[in-house]
Symmetry: D2
């Protein structure tokens, strides 16, 4: 980066771990710039206060250290809207990493504005999707922000070089971080993802020690557990009758799902940057929420709305996976989806057992299910079966005209 | 139906059961017409030869009785093409009943042509989807065929009336058929569906005795079973290394899945005729095939093709559910889907356990997965991380222009 | 219709013409029911007060006669929202008839509620789309309303029978209505459509006398006219600098377009009821609005939003054509479309000449067009051309991996 | 480019003009590499033989000079398949430049293989779409090819610098090329596009002198011309009864359209690289073909197929505009589209007048139009209007269930 455009003050997405500590030091060293740290509690399940001490040790002024609990915001403003869409990427992936990135960028940008920083920095590599997600979100919110992605800039291309650089620059290196990690992990309240290294051969099953927040289904309880989730306007609001905030809800469902081995996924997916990669995902609460939401929609959402949602969903999921959360087209789709959820309220009963989640009951005062219409019994005139004959004849007309044409041609 | 248009000769989809026996007799009585029976072995798991004796008893001439094994045709020409699309209706339903109906209509129409019949008849009611599927398919293949749906015509609107009519017309009524069946069943090699009566309250869990071809997951083996399915051009062709024909494959997977409690689904769905209905589906082999196909596609199918397939799928599934198998638009989508499957060949390894199916490995000489590109290690120049910076900057440009516009407006 | 379900009081969509006068009388005669008339000024360009005298002559009580000017409502709540979508059916048709039907049904239903009527009636035939549009809208707004469509019920299947019935029942028959009209017409502020009779052979050009609100392009002025339309949030609000209400705007554009022979369309289209029909449409103002809206969107709407709109449009247009204005899925799409129009404000300059409308200029303080970025000249660093290299390399990666796979297979 | 990866032999897309002559010399100078020239007759309307002399003058060996007439291939394999889709980008643009780029890349790659070249080069800038189209196509066909885009590499960022460099390197500079061209032009048999410089303000109308292959509509004949185009399987094959090859057809339609001022378009569009740009397009023959194809489809293509095509089209057009002609997803869509065209055969009659093209008649032995069904007259039982009542009742059911639910909630 030419000196003229070098950043003066950078807000860094800082985890407190070795890699982002090296980045912190590298930013100071390479650009001589002031660094502001942002450390978010996204529900990744780590103590964050140690990050403060580390940042201070690396010379960050106390007023430049920011540790923020964003769990409620994350679930309320990002996870829940996404689950209204029943979003899955490539048929299976619940987008646990993708949905957290725009939130982080939003905070980085807001901090940059507040502190007068002209740049933000993140620790994502140049091969993955996360760099795209961080940066598209940042540019969409602050078009002239500079974004620094050290992994694309520096030449610390091996673990050895990285450790050497850290030691040469007084970045403390914990003993257990000297070697290579066997795989790479990202975690937040929605999921844990693991990839790389020992997971790079998609023909080989993932080793047990990869899984972090779900028990092996074989070790899960031998008896099923039944739960009831209450929904309002498409969002889960109560568990077994008890009202819960968004983050409380996801936390509780994670605990339940994790205990029953729910939500493991071994997937090869197509990255936005073009190559395929293999990920191991654990999304216990999210897996339950998807099933629950489908269950409550099944009785409260009209078929026309439901099918339109199904058709829009792949594009919506792709937009989130690719990093376009803050884009007009994602917002348009969200408007359509949210419009459909007005009456998606009621209760679903789910069975958790040995990794499976099954909806076994659903009820609602908004239900569109009409026993009077569907019954095999006498329906007291609710439905006239003779109407169906006309329905079919009219729907068949164009097919009959086609068949007549084809016969005519054949008979020549 | 006015006399002028009354059928002279009717091909009836005849199961040999009480209901279609009554229909057979009713056609003879009501229209004085000759009846040709068609009884198909779709893998429903019932003896079909008794249907011959019953038809004879009801006065059908031997040459008018047709009992045909269509299992290979069913799986090869209907089930497999559908599974190439990863088709699910409303997110969950594998379309087991829907996909069998056009096959039956095709045979009814062919028999009508062969025997000079001017009509076909089926035993589907006026409230369901099946009438639509039977009839749209028939009209698409033979535009001037008459279709007789006795359930929409007669006034035998209660079980009592039906039995009385049968007895008054010498249709033998087995003792166990005098009362109401507790629910209604449809079965073929792909699935068993159950609906109606005791299942009509969607808030109540389905009773255990409804399930017919899968064991209760809790009663399934306590140890998982691993299987390997070989795929060629999108279709499963071998199981644990052994080549199998289409029907053999589905039979074998049904046995495996059934044993592990795989493929149960309790669903409220939106019928084409407008009301919601609740069905209990068991699709053991199909559930395995869906997971297997996604697994092999994940390494052999390009992201662009895969995402387009995902976007087209809901429409494709809807067409099949609604009864438009023989329609130009289904054939167009099939052409697109089939075009994508040329290299969807290779092997997947699946784990079956207590109702769950998980892909734990996949490999192929057609694989697009490139460890060289994705690796966290040095990649010997396969991928230049600096390219990603340009990729992001260009993708961000329109979002930045939007943000600049919005800033400009805000700043007045 | 069995007596038990015969209507007691019917709100009739009454034009004052012969056909709906016969219907009025027929309702009184056939059902002995009270009739309330609803006559709407939709901008069809006919005097409506004569309808009052005719209704009175047919025995309708003054308080049961309703003549309402709905032009502003029509354009503001139906036409403008539809034009935000750039909706065209089958590539060409601007949906002029389709969009008026739900408005009429809304008023019929409201009048039924207000007057305690249990039914509504319309004069659409059983072969067309309008019956569907009227009735779906009515049922969506009032689920238990009865709908009477005399053309589907009575046996007045020829002009002769109809006139005989009228004369036998004291319905005045104007002399010029004794013979067959050479074609059938529907008109409102958005368009005039003509179909049937002399237009039934799609190989033959429509005769000149069919066209009613546009001059023959050959007779249009030999010099072009330039106009400027101001847009706000996707709707046209001023013409040549002068603010106009919605109905004033469409009226003024109709006059302009009509004078220049703009908006004629000779189309064969696929009806919802299955057959193809040929229509001659004149939509002068609408054709100008479509071009104008595309023009203002071209500089104010982001590419992502614009392309999503283009993908959603055919479904949206189909919904309106098929009669699903009041459906959850149309409302979802409308929410998405409206979400996109927040900044679709500015001015377009259009050239009208001999049936063509061309956008020749567009400007806006919301413009996303950046001369700084697009210029062939030095751009002062707004855009780094080297970024494009990375953009292409990353986008090419999956295509290169495909090509490598294919080479590998070919080389064996 | 580091020496190690510098190209040894480059196939250059060479027009014979000044810019690509400078590129030719620059490649020789910068990389010391051998240059092979490829000059294609795409119907751009220029003499190509002078390119041979120029190439020789710049030191290219005769066997390295390739001048090829690709007009038939261009129209048959690229233009016609695209027009089967009725492809328009952003509602209006007929993709005239986009569709030519993959053809050129295909030839460049084939020549590279044939001559043992390791690279190709093109003269597109780093701001436009063409670089993307050239390069994505090249990589899709030959994954390891090098692509050289001098405009992204060199520092000849002004006209002055470019001319100076040319003079310093013995590239002949014609006198009329010393100054800036007032705008930039691309042409082929499908269209001429003009952009940049005097056209950069989208508020200002394009000056007359920009238009090159169409007369001003005001100067076009005062009497319309009627033509008949014969179609087979979706492609035009005869004009006024005379069979024509693909390139002959487009040439003839260009002449006809140009004479009547048909096919001018003044558009602001969203480029793939993110900014908006303004283009002036002239596509006389293509505009006629689009209208003709829609006309013949209107009577031969089923509604289901037609609507599916309409839904797929925006994505298809986007893929071509973005440069993904050689991609699995474009090929999937093409398979679907081509599947629909089997019976799109017959004749359309079109009226050309003062820039407008209107279909005024269409007929075919494949026609699906059935006067028997659509007629206002007695239809001899082809269609039973009472069927429509059932059709509507069943389609309304879900809307009625919604309305009942909403009433229930309102009434509390």
């Amino acid at each position: 980066m030419p000196a003229a455009t070098a950043p003066k003050k950078v807000v860094l997405a800082y985890s407190g771990g070795l890699d982002t500590s090296i980045i912190l030091k590298w930013l100071q060293t390479e650009y001589g710039c002031e660094v502001v740290t942002f450390t978010a509690d996204l529900g990744q399940g780590e103590e964050l206060e140690p990050a403060r001490a580390k940042a201070e040790l690396l010379g960050i002024a106390p007023e430049n250290i920011n540790i923020v609990d964003v769990r409620e915001e994350f679930v309320r403003d990002f996870v829940f809207p996404m689950f209204r869409a029943n979003a899955v990427y490539e048929g299976l992936y619940l987008l646990g990493t993708s949905i957290a990135r725009p939130l982080i960028s939003k905070h980085l940008v807001e901090l940059a504005r507040k502190t007068g920083a002209d740049a933000i920095a993140h620790g994502a590599t140049g091969k993955g999707n996360d760099q795209v997600r961080f940066e598209l979100a940042a540019y969409a919110l602050e078009p002239d922000i500079k974004v620094i992605a050290p992994w694309r800039e520096w030449d610390l291309t091996s673990r050895t070089k990285l450790i050497e650089w850290a030691e040469a620059h007084q970045v403390p290196v914990p003993k257990d971080k000297r070697g290579e990690a066997p795989f790479s992990v990202d975690a937040n309240l929605l999921h844990t993802s693991s990839e790389g290294k020992v997971l790079e051969d998609p023909a080989e099953a993932a080793p047990d020690y990869v899984y972090q927040r779900t028990v092996d289904p074989e070790a899960a309880p031998d008896t099923p557990e039944f739960i009831e989730i209450g929904y309002e306007k498409g969002d889960p609001v109560s568990l077994n009758g008890k009202p819960l905030s968004p983050a409380q809800m996801l936390t509780a469902l994670n605990e339940l799902g994790g205990r029953h081995g729910v939500g493991r996924l071994d997937l090869v997916e197509g990255r936005y940057v073009g190559m395929k990669s293999r990920g191991i995902y654990e999304t216990p609460g999210g897996t339950i929420m998807l099933e629950g939401h489908r269950g409550i929609e099944s009785i409260t959402l009209d078929r026309g709305a439901a099918h339109l949602k199904d058709e829009l969903m792949p594009k919506y999921a792709e937009l989130i996976y690719f990093g376009y959360w803050f884009s007009p087209e994602r917002e348009m789709l969200q408007a359509a989806i949210d419009r459909s959820q007005e009456h998606v309220s009621g209760t679903v009963r789910l069975k958790l057992y040995k990794s499976s989640v099954a909806c076994v009951g659903r009820w609602s005062d908004r239900s569109l299910y009409s026993e009077a219409h569907v019954t095999f019994e006498e329906d007291a005139g609710a439905y006239d079966q003779k109407d169906a004959a006309g329905f079919i004849k009219i729907n068949a007309l164009r097919l009959r005209l086609l068949a007549m044409r084809n016969k005519r041609l054949k008979d020549g």
